[in-house]
Amino acid sequence: MKARAFRKTYTRIERITKATCEIRASDVKFGELAWIEDRPAQAIRIMEDMVTLQVFRGTEGLSTHSNIIFTGRPPSLAVSELLSGRIFNALGLPIDGGTPVTGEERVIKGAAVNPVKRAKPNVLLATGIAGIDLNNTLVTGQKIPFFADPDQPYNKVIAEVALRAEADKIVLGGMGLSNDDFLFFKNTFEAAGVMDKIVCFINTSEDSPLERLLVPDMACTAAEYFANDKQQKVLLLLSDMTLYADALAIVANKMDQIPSKDSMPGSLYSDLASIYEKAVQFDHGGSITMIAVTTLNEGDITHAIPDNTGYITEGQLFLRYDSDISKVIVDPFRSLSRLKQNVIGKKTREDHPQVMNALIRLYADAMDAKTKKENGFDLNEYDERCLSFSKDYAMKLLAIDINISVDEMLDTGWELLQKHFEKYEVGIKNELLKKYWRKETAESA
């Protein structure tokens, strides 16, 4: 990322906004990286000889007489095996005290994968969390965000998922992470002894918000290197994409763009898609699976950021605090994994789809009973059974601290069904009941 010495130096800035500055320069390429003293910047508009630079560290304290050098190429990342186990800032420079990585310089925000070269994602990605594996099964090559309110432990959950998933590499892109959260990730990975397969690109809340714009592209470039060049299974974690989108809005605003919904730039969909669509399953077995975090404002999913995200990603996972069991659970109603159909009952046990649906349906009955109770109506015997089932279900399967295999989840599911219900109440195919229903039913007893 260092500037080349023979490049011409410019010394006169004509206009400075909070996020951009303009200078007169010739021979500049669109998207080119420039250095204003020690601040990196990117050419985002060129009119004749007037170049608008987006200054990643902000323009605070920037003098009109700063030295500006153009590097002649867009922001890039040196990729090689040496990336493993390292922590970088948004510009790809080490912040772990180590030396810069040597390797092939790759332009970030690279080309799209030709759709005909993609493979259909159908390899199960187990996390041990039943709220995910049982109800919203993930598949390698999938992209899925956690929709969570800011007070929920989403970073803890994605760190947990990352550690349990069988990935060759874990790439973490942190945008606006609090320093505490950053240290949490670092300590968790170190404690688990997996630092050698981690690559981090971190922008904390102490860093400039505009620098965040580079983080997902840096992380995707590293992930693509391992997934395609090295044919590895890569898990890419991005937290928090809402803060990334906020940074987009700042730049758009300073560029005098007309905002669309919720003050977001009109290109928000394309901007987010260019990141999320990096999730891919290659024919050769390499893959990028993307697990992101989109923080919500009091659960509002109609806001432009979660709304556009929902149209791009393959489902979403909702976290919710369940006061009945005093734990955070994965909400079975609002969560969805679009690609689960590719694996459940095929790569997992045959009874998976039916057991999953039966449990959710009965949980829905329990929620109805709960409403009934709250409204002061009398509960019948079935309602009571549903309620006690829902507690068990939340405790043993929905809570995010569960860590068991999919078979164990299904066995637990059968156990709960038999504990609280009769055969005819669960709505499962006879063929499966014959095989898995162990309890003597009332009629046959």
Binding site: F30, M47, E48, A111, N114, V116, S267, H303, G310, F333
Partner: protein, 591 residues
């Protein structure tokens, strides 16, 4: 050729200083490193042309040379389009070698070395004009007509036509003379600018003949016509794409053009992996033999999104001129509108609602009006039926794309979050949705003859039952089960019966996924028969038990082969149950 130089770059908008004449919507080629990148002129001010680049503008330098081609964005039309997977500019994706689509990668649309057996249809001295059939070649299982180029005006006389023989794509297969005596040669391939409607037919007719999709909620309740238009708006997760794919798999189209416009790449991959293995229920051949896919997924260049829908439409119009029933599907038109918005914004135009360009409604209207059923030069009919999906922001239908489309599309298939949540698929809301074709006298007379006399009345009757049922449900929810008359429960359960018997359909079940019109007619009549019976119940719980039983039997009918013994047994059982119920009541009434 006009030349110019790049003087400004704002994302994929280029400002070009032009030396000489330029035309609006002209394609120009921009030099970037060792490649020429396509861009389209979208605004001219004095000697500065603004052009949208169909690629990432990364690495474009001020001063870069630009050549103006003098032609608008064109597609190549000829045999070999079917089974192809194109990008938004009609590059054949399978001919690209790399894993990634690099800036400027482009490949020929047709297989230029391919040979086809040409069979003449015209003879010497025939008088022909644009769109006239000269002969045909077999493309997969379709007679691909070789036609007089659509851009030619006036009448021509055939002076020579090839005999039945194997020809190359670019070989001359016919020669014609214009009225000035100039001889012109015709091959199997021609070009057409995508933004201009492709004519070559005599007149457009009013749709009135049902376009069978195999989905009951569409065919029975909100029918689509050959040459008709429809749109499917819905929040994410309500099954827009699944519904469109179900239509693609089961419709009676001769040719299927799918435009994946700014959506997920994995969804296209699903089509790629499924269609070659699926059998088209109409032709019995592999589904991909009649299908062309144009994909510009959400991470591919934004400007080519707009191009992709026009490329799809032009290809559909081309096959229509061969006298075929073409179905064009676009998922999603919102992404196209967003691409227009991004560009309008960069041009610093005054924005319309939600920052969309003010001409959005007319752009959408012009696009939808290119569909239709047409009479060709030889009196035969051809049609382009179009169904587009819309992804409204926040799931709110009060937004410019949905509103503009509602003014031009005749069928509206509203996907409801509530139905999707309760797993009632397809999640089409039967009452909010509509087909304006039901009120067309053309459809009424067509259905009177081809389906059954008074069919339209029957449809309206079913809708009435649904409406009354909905009202009853609201009352029950407000007042409670006990507080409403039993008749409310009966009305509610009648609408549930229609919901389960007609509207809900399992697109993963081999039999239920596609329902023939004859069977739809049978089921509609059966449902109406059940609903017409006067029922009497003592308790509201009785109503539920009774109808749950009937619904179960009707569902079993839907899962069995039409008129099979299973089917008949369940029907018999249902009739018996109803008869017993009414008898029971009558005998009670006597005593």
């Amino acid at each position: 050729m006009t030349r110019g130089n790049v003087t400004g770059v704002i994302a994929n908008l280029l400002l070009i200083k032009v030396e000489g004449a330029t035309t609006q919507n002209e394609i120009c080629l921009v030099q970037a490193a060792d490649k020429l990148l396509k861009a389209e002129v979208i605004l001219v001010q004095k000697n500065i042309a603004s052009a949208q680049l169909f690629e990432s503008s990364s690495s474009i330098q001020i001063g870069a040379e630009v050549q103006f081609t003098g032609r608008m964005l064109e597609v190549e039309l000829g045999p070999g389009i079917l089974s192809k997977k194109y990008d938004g500019l009609q590059s054949d994706l399978e001919k690209m070698s790399g894993t990634f689509i690099e800036i400027g990668d482009s490949t020929p649309a047709l297989d230029n070395d391919a040979k086809y057996e040409f069979t003449p249809l015209a003879v010497e001295n025939d008088v022909v004009k644009a769109g006239s059939w000269l002969g045909f070649v077999m493309e997969n299982n379709i007679e691909h007509k070789i036609m007089v180029p659509f851009s030619w005006k006036g009448d021509y006389k055939v002076t020579w036509i090839a005999t039945k023989q194997t020809c190359g794509l670019h070989d001359v297969v016919a020669k014609v003379k214009d009225n000035q005596g100039n001889e012109l040669e015709i091959s199997m391939v021609q070009q057409w600018p995508v933004k201009v409607p492709l004519t070559g037919f005599v007149e457009k007719l009013r749709p009135g003949k049902i376009f069978h999709t195999g989905l009951r909620v569409i065919d029975t309740l909100n029918p689509m016509m050959e040459g008709g238009t429809g749109y499917i708006p819905g929040p994410f997760g309500t099954g827009k794409t699944v519904l469109q794919q179900a239509i693609a798999k089961n419709s009676e189209a001769d040719v299927l053009v799918i435009v994946a416009c700014g959506e997920r790449a994995n969804e296209v991959v699903e089509i790629f992996s499924e269609f070659p293995n699926l059998i088209d229920p109409v032709t019995g051949h592999k589904l991909d033999a009649k299908t062309t896919i144009i994909c510009n997924t959400s991470n591919m260049p934004v400007a080519a999104r707009e191009a992709s829908v026009y490329v799809g439409m032009t290809i559909a119009e081309y096959y229509r001129c061969m006298g075929l029933k073409v179905l064009l599907l676009a998922d999603s038109t919102s992404r196209w509108a967003q691409a227009l918005r991004e560009m309008s914004n960069r041009l610093e135009e005054l924005p319309g609602q939600d920052a969309f360009p003010v001409e959005l409604p007319s752009t959408i209207a012009n696009f939808y009006s290119r569909t239709g059923i047409v009479k060709l030069n030889n009196g035969k009919l051809g049609s382009v039926t179009f169904i587009g999906t819309i992804s409204p922001a926040g799931g709110n239908f009060k937004e410019p794309v949905t509103e503009s489309t509602s003014k031009v599309a005749q069928c509206f298939y509203a996907l409801s979050q509530k139905r999707a949540d309760s797993k009632r698929y397809p999640a089409i809301d039967p009452l909010a949705s509509y087909s304006k074709y039901i009120d067309y006298p053309e459809f009424e007379s067509y259905s009177d003859v081809n389906i059954q006399h008074g069919w339209v009345e029957e449809i309206n009757k079913v809708k009435e039952y649904l409406k009354i049922g909905l009202e009853a449900r609201d009352q029950i929810n407000i007042l409670g089960d006990d507080a409403v008359p039993i008749s409310y429960h009966i009305n509610f359960w009648k609408s549930e019966l229609i919901d389960f018997g007609i509207i809900q359909q399992n697109s993963f079940d081999d039999i239920d996924m596609r329902t023939e019109m004859e069977r739809q007619q049978y089921m509609l009549n059966f449902m109406l028969e059940i609903c017409a019976v006067e029922y009497q119940f003592e308790e509201f719980e009785e109503v539920r038990d009774f109808f749950k039983n009937i619904i179960n039997l009707v569902s079993q009918m839907n899962f069995s082969e039409f008129s099979s013994s299973d089917f008949k047994e369940n029907e018999e059982q249902a009739r018996k149950t109803i008869l017993e119920k009414t008898k029971n009541y009558e005998s009670q009434g006597v005593s």
